[in-house]
Structures are given as C-alpha cells and as structure tokens.
Symmetry: C2
Subunit: 269 residues, 2 copies
C-alpha cells in the first residue's frame, strides 16, 4: 500500500466539489490529467502514481470511456462518476475522463551535473496553456531534461496543459523558480550555456555553434523575453524570419531551437 | 472607386445576419479577419482590399477599438456597430472587431515555374483551426510560396484561423485542390521534389539533402498522411523524436521541416 500519511485521504479529497466557481478540492500537488493521449501516457509511464479516475455521467455510452473503465477497474482504488459540470471545471476540453496522479517527474540535479549533454528550457512568462502544453509535448520528444517556469504570471500545468502536451508532462520535470538568476548560475556552474531567443540577437540559430549543455530561454507571447532575463543570457540568438516585426509562435520557435540543437549534437556524435 | 459589379453591394451584404445559428451573409469570397495582429497586418499589407469593419457595441470603452476606429474612419466606406453576439458568430475569440477584405493572395503559377527556389506546404486534412492558423503564421515567416489544402475534411481559412495566423494569411496564397495527384504532378514538372513527413520514413530530416524546390506534405492531427498522399511523395522523411509512438504537433513539425530547409538553402547560397 502507498503511504498516505502526508495528505488527506483521497476519497474525501477528490469527491468534494468546491463552493460554486471555486477550485475543486484535491491535494494541491496531485495532477488532474485529461485528454485521451495524456491519460494513456500517464497510465503507461506512471501506473503506480494513479490515485483515482473520474468519469462523466453517461460514460457507458462512450466506447473510449468504457475501454478506460475496463482497463482500470480493479487496478485503482477509486473510480467515481461525476456530473459533466464537475469535469468542465477541470478543463473545458476534457473528453469525459480525468485521471488523478499523486506525483510528478522530478529533476535529478545531481545527474544533470554529471551529464555531458543536456537541454533545458526556460519559459519566461508563457501564459497561454495551449502554448505551454505544445512546448511540453515538443520538449518530451526532443529529449529536454527540464523546463523552468517563473513563480508568477505564467501558465501552470493545468489539466488542459496535460491534454495539449499529449503525455509530455509525464516525461519532462518542471521546476518553478523563485529566481531565474540563481538557477541559471547553478546551471552555468554545471557547464550549461544560456541562450535567449530574441529577434534582436546579433547571430542566427544557424551561425551558432551549439554546445553540449544548453539552456534555451524563450519569452512570452507578444512580449518576448523580459530584459532582466535577457541580461542573464550568454548570448541572444534569432531565428531567421521573413518579417522582423513579426514573430514565430513560442511553441514553434522552441521546436526550431531544439531541432537545430539536436542536429548539431547528432552531427558531432 | 473600386469596381463592385461582380457582387452584391457591401452594405446589404455584410449588414444582414443570417437566420439564427446559420452562417452570416456576406459574399463567400470575402474574408472576415479578427484578432489585433491579423487586422493590423491586413491593413498594412492590403489596404485597398478592405470593404468594411464591424465593431462591437461598447467599442468606445476600449482603447484598442477606439484606435482602430480613428485609424479607419474616413478611409473605408463601411463601419458598423454590432451586438457582441453577431461578432461571436464569426469567432468566439475575436476582440470586438472584424475587418472584411474582398480579396486574398493568389498564387502566381507562372512565376513559381520560373523560380529557382521554392517552398510549398501540402496540408493533408488538418482539421484544427488553431493548427492551420499556426502553420500559416510559420509559412509566412519561412517564405513559403503557397499552402495546398484538400477540398474536403479540412479546416478552412475562418476568422479564427486569421487570428491565430497573426497576419500570415495576407502573405501566403492558399490553393484548395480537388486532386492532389494532379497538382503535385504539375509541381514536379516545375522541378519540385515532394517529401512527406512521416514517422515511418527511412531517413531523418538531417539525412536529407533538401533540393531548391520542395513540397512538404504534412498529415492530419493523430492520423498523419493518408496512404494515397504518401504514395504521391518522392520520399517519406521522419523528424527524430524520443518516442516513436508519439508525434510532434503538426505546426511544430512544419516549423522544423521549414527551418531545416532554410538552413540547407542558406548554407548553399
């Protein structure tokens, strides 16, 4: 049996909807995962972390939900049927199911220091959950070791982010940083180089010799990197684009930076 | 004055909402552009195509809408104030304004044949308007000459697509193709090579020597390229990824293919 001593019993915690409009009550560190791909990846990768499943009323008429129920029946302690409105509160684009996991991937700083190669993303105030989800999906598939988020004014890893990430949240540790300067200093000591994506960068992504250990800093939609974050970078780098006044979507820009990182590193290897 | 002989007068055409739930009535070939960036780019790029502007009731209390009104007052024939519900019918994420344009960028096939370099995207059934919009934004900034869409089962260039594309629709001609085979045969005669992005491709994007004239074929969310489309390709190519069973988001994959295309072409140039 799992140790439950550090939190409320799950039955009480997830069964009780909050006062209308407020957040749902379950332990704060639990993750509510929605979306077919995200749930499948969570069950495949972290079956021992699963605490419960919510299904919407009428799940019996959905082939997908029936399959999910059959797969989990007997395997997990708690399967509850909820009115659609309760699931809506988790995410307005869930597909009638939410899986609750008690743990999240954790960054192994010691291992990171020992690695000879590494890719880290620093997201400087991405507020759109779809962008954050898309970035986590790309981060997973591009072998990113960790994603760093600021403490304030940024999207959190909500159920919708889980859905859009299509399983990426199970693979990429996320660190909430009170202070980017301290974390980047630590990473620099481990041998990481810090690059910021910015249209004002003197060199393009193609000019850059990307080192083995690299942190990519990416700014918010519209605003780009904050100047305080830019100053923490070793170099600002731009992605070639037809119109200097416009910009790539943040998740596309991240994909481009990680692709070129992978290309250069695989060319060396 | 503009020639209006080929269509209904704009006043009649755009002022009349359709029976409840149905589409709005304005000439079918007009584009309704929503979103601050998309409207700004349309006004900058194609001022002579603008037919009218809708503002939501209460626009006077919004700085952005007041600025837009001041900019267009006297410049365009038709500015109308509409209840929010009418604008909602165009897009549920507009910001209180919709700009109507009577024309769209058109592909110059003759010029395409004469060019020594060219990039074309074929989207094989992208159904999510956010993905289509994100792809058009990337296509613009990556100097794509045209985007080919199928006649059925694919997102169309809706107001929401305009918004997400952030101006990309003003720059990239879109061709609706009744038959991909015929169009690709034409392009092949012009010197284009046809590549399909597919996890089953024998070679990766990095192994490929990308020619000067290239068509990238990209499949739908989840399903990937249809086998009929795969057979039209000269070669299937995969993007390296950590888990072969997963896949990049279509707009991220497009960004990656176009980045590597640009890198190889700029390395030659």
């Amino acid at each position: 049996m799992k140790k439950n001593s550090h939190r409320s019993p799950p039955s009480q915690a997830i069964a009780r909807p909050a006062p209308s409009g407020g957040p749902l009550l379950f332990p704060k560190h639990w993750r509510a995962v929605v979306g077919q791909h995200a749930i499948a990846e969570a069950l495949k990768t972290h079956p021992s972390w699963v605490e419960g499943l919510w299904l919407r009323q009428g799940w019996e008429s959905s082939q997908d939900l029936k399959k999910l129920h059959a797969e989990l029946k007997g395997r997990i302690a708690k399967i509850e049927v909820k009115p659609p409105a309760i699931l809506e509160k988790l995410s307005n684009s869930q597909q009638g199911a939410a899986l609750f996991l008690r743990e999240s991937p954790i960054l192994d700083w010691k291992r990171l220091a020992e690695q000879t190669q590494g890719r880290i993303l620093l997201l400087d105030g991405i507020e759109d959950p779809h962008n954050l989800g898309a970035i986590l999906r790309t981060a997973w598939l591009s072998q990113v070791s960790a994603v760093l988020l600021p403490q304030d004014r940024a999207a959190r890893v909500t159920p919708t982010v889980h859905k859009v990430a299509c399983g990426g949240v199970e693979h990429v540790p996320i660190e909430i940083c009170a202070n980017f300067a301290n974390v980047l200093e630590e990473l620099r000591k481990m041998g990481f180089w810090i690059f910021g994506l910015s249209a004002t960068g003197p060199n393009t992504l193609f000019d850059l010799k990307i080192p083995e250990k690299v942190v990519w800093c990416v700014g918010a939609e519209d605003k780009g990197l904050r100047s305080t974050t830019e100053r923490l970078c070793d170099e600002l780098v731009r992605i070639p684009q037809a119109d200097a006044a416009a910009s790539y979507n943040a998740s596309v820009a991240v994909g481009m930076a990680l692709l070129e990182t992978g290309r250069q590193q695989s060319a060396k290897g």
